[in-house]
Symmetry: C2
Subunit: 237 residues, 2 copies
Amino acid sequence: MTGAMMPEGADAVVMQEVTQRDGDEVKIFEGVDKTGNVRFTGESVAKEQQVMGKGKYLRPPEVSMLASLNCPEVTVYRKPTVAIVSTGDELTPLGEPLEPGKIRDSNRYGLYAQVEEAGGIPIDMGIAPDDEVETERIFRAALAKADALITSGGVSVGEHDVVKSVLARLGKINFWRVAMKPGKTAGLTAFRTENLFWIAGNPVSSLVVFELFVRPALLKMAGHTELLASDLQSHFS
Amino acid sequence: MTGAMMPEGADAVVMQEVTQRDGDEVKIFEGVDKTGNVRFTGESVAKEQQVMGKGKYLRPPEVSMLASLNCPEVTVYRKPTVAIVSTGDELTPLGEPLEPGKIRDSNRYGLYAQVEEAGGIPIDMGIAPDDEVETERIFRAALAKADALITSGGVSVGEHDVVKSVLARLGKINFWRVAMKPGKTAGLTAFRTENLFWIAGNPVSSLVVFELFVRPALLKMAGHTELLASDLQSHFS
């Protein structure tokens, strides 16, 4: 049988498909090299060989390899929990009528899907109003229950933008405003402390900033060592 | 504010960053084109424009777009349920000692992970022994509870390979044995009726046959129209 152990004394295998049984005799219609169709012990994985290192993402091939090596349990990082807040009185939740000058709150849903796709557990914290006390309360509640907080909107220099001053009280601003497009007016704004991400309100900007800045950080939190799309590409090239 | 409605009579916006307020006056330090920094109604999506069609995979950008268009509910296909069976008395479950001539059952775990990655719901049906009656019972039970069945192993022409004769009773063989590598001895063997996939026992063959034959079929069951990796690439080129 395919996959069966070699019988004592045999050193090659002829495929049954090229043979014919005739009573107690077997006719063989094709030759075979010495060691032909034989797999040797340790051919797939040698003794002491490392098959995967720390920080390796367990895709189906890795799962299959772990099973073949009889590793029913492995230690993994837990998925990071990520709170998502939209900010601004101009945002209208789905299902409510859109009044003049208001915009639909779409980033919360896009970010939710992005967090899931990046292997995180999203926590929807709703919409924070243009009020410093209430915004700070929501942000602190989010950071108390989640590993990270993503807040979207409120990044311009308008009078009602309370987000930046609240964030400055919660952590150190590592960087702010990145010269990139999309994000026409002033380049994109990305605010990040260890676990706090402040991204632009424009829907396309929000999607792009997540991909470039937030996704690698979430992957790092989850123990990944391949943080960028270019790292993953290297598997296939 | 960024994103706010244009006031009556205004036709351009100067960024606050290049202005300075001086009592009741505002000093402007940079000019602006007519309609500068203005977004018009219908600029992102025109009236009656189709933003996505049937069979479109809802990735984060599509989720964000649906939210921005106030579509809180969309009709989607449910995830296909996929039963997974390993076949053969030579297979040893994880955690049990590996006796001479036996091999570790790894494909079930790899296939489980692949089904999840392809958006299906895997159902682990364990190992079917080299016994036609019991194998048929397990296969029928699997097809009764799942949308599809993947069975791994038992594809050679050995005397104990009962899988093919059982499968022939359950459905029409659409194709069998594909000339491709990996799958040295006789090319890979892929058996498929509408919802029944029989793939080779070699672990690498199993992973590859799933990717090439089973994944596109599961995606099709789930309503996808982009079934091959090359279809997805077209998003980025």
